[in-house]
Symmetry: C2
Subunit: 246 residues, 2 copies
DNA sequence: AGTGGCATTTCGTGATCACATTTTTATGGC
DNA sequence: GCCATAAAAATGTGATCACGAAATGCCACT
């Protein structure tokens, strides 16, 4: 992941398919789409100013990575997580991310720990400012700085995919994210354990954080399947409610 | 209205891309290719009797699933696991597969346990016969019967992907697989624990099996990175060593 | 106004082609 | 015999098009 951001120059020499893929991936992770949105090949191609081919390939790639779902007709759609799917996703994260932390721990030298401390400090400051975007970004930075240190490319890729798939439902929770200020912030605790060489404790704290966040979201979120039955009946009477059309 | 034409056989009504994908996936899992083999779009398309488009899409899909690697030029290549990559893969499996077992345990009723017992019995018989292919297949059946019972589609998909990626190196180990007869066979132990409702014990046994198998393979296998330096020198003197498959 | 049926638009799939780059093979010089 | 070099074959990418299926919109009819 490039640290320096130079979109124009960076995108200039890229293959079109790679450009489309990155744009779509960024849009997905950034909450540009809502769960249920349909992304047709031609519309994406038009929006990106390219022919169908690169857009098609990019959409298929994201679908293969589980970042998009495919309708039976082949149309790509932003995943609409059901409650069981979200629980499953959280359970997988609760296994893989502590694993990544344990793998990373031996590689975290003083400089790396110092960098993590800076992230935590920045996070606390951002939270004091009420800058929820910065909080979220720094939360992510803290964890992925650790995961990258694991030097486990396959595992890192899996975790990124899981986050990407969780992305859309998180952005629908933008309102709840503010309330999440009351959620226990475990990164300081994790950092402390890492500093002390207590790898198992750090791993357990991370697992606990993931589990807690999952429970919080399960409580705060109304999932697609939760209200589906009654909504279907309601939709018969009031055809507007929330069409899934794009 | 007929949604799609009823296929005469399983492959008849299939979209070409799906057919290519399944054929390639089956070939990969079945050991038809060797690590390092290059699969070019046109050659695959020719072999399957279709145009480039479906073959291209199928190869890209497998690459996105990490079942194939891509050279910088875009050519697909059967993954050549290095030792660190294999260790990483095993570590991920050691987390995810026990998780799947724990999720599956509540759903394993008497009939399911009976089916598992039949698989174990068949496995023991096949091992007595020296039928290593059947042993391998029943080993896989035993585990995936459990994993499917977890009713966790995302997790199942991840595990399948990991197995697919591990596939090629396993088939290079065909010779060693026979010697693996001495490897502890933990499935009976797992089944016993499941029968007794000892989920944690079953999970631990599965994790131990994965770890043991990983260590065995690490000992028996010469990985790509292990002998790369000297082999490159040898290849300069004997240019034939191993031609790329087609 | 509600409804059934039909036309239009949109969509994914797959074929074919041009183009630039890479990889392989043949060639010639040492 | 060995290696650099050029010719040739192979390869990935992306554009464009045709085709059938699906979704949408429209309008006449009741």
């Amino acid at each position: 992941m490039p640290l320096t951001v130079q979109p124009k120059n960076a995108e200039e020499g890229l293959a079109l398919e790679e450009l489309a893929y990155r744009r779509l991936r960024e849009a997905l992770g950034g909450g540009a789409f809502l769960p249920g949105d349909r992304l047709s090949i031609r519309r994406v191609a038009d929006a990106l100013g390219m022919s169908s081919m690169p857009a098609r390939t990019a959409l298929r790639r994201l679908a293969a990575e589980q970042a998009l779902d495919l309708l039976p007709t082949g149309t790509a759609v932003v995943p609409r997580l059901t409650r069981p799917a979200f629980i499953e996703l959280s359970a997988i994260r609760a296994e893989l991310e502590p694993l990544a932390l344990r793998l990373a721990a031996p590689h975290l030298d003083g400089a790396a720990l110092h960098g993590l401390a800076a992230i935590v400090a920045g996070h606390d400051e951002a939270r004091a400012r009420g800058d929820s975007d910065a909080v979220r970004r720094l939360d992510r930075d803290f964890l992925f700085t650790i995961y990258r240190a694991a030097q486990a490319p396959l595992l890192l890729n899996l975790i990124e995919t899981l986050w990407l798939r969780r992305g859309p439902i998180f952005w629908e929770l933008r309102w709840a994210a503010l309330a999440a200020g009351g959620m226990r912030h475990a990164h300081g605790e994790i950092l402390l354990a890492l500093r002390g060489g207590q790898i198992a404790a750090a791993s357990a704290a991370l697992r606990q954080e993931i589990t807690d966040a999952s429970l919080f979201i399960q409580g705060a979120m109304r999932f697609a399947d939760d209200d589906a039955p009654k909504d279907r009946l309601a939709a018969l009477k009031r055809p507007q409610a929330r069409a899934l059309g794009g």
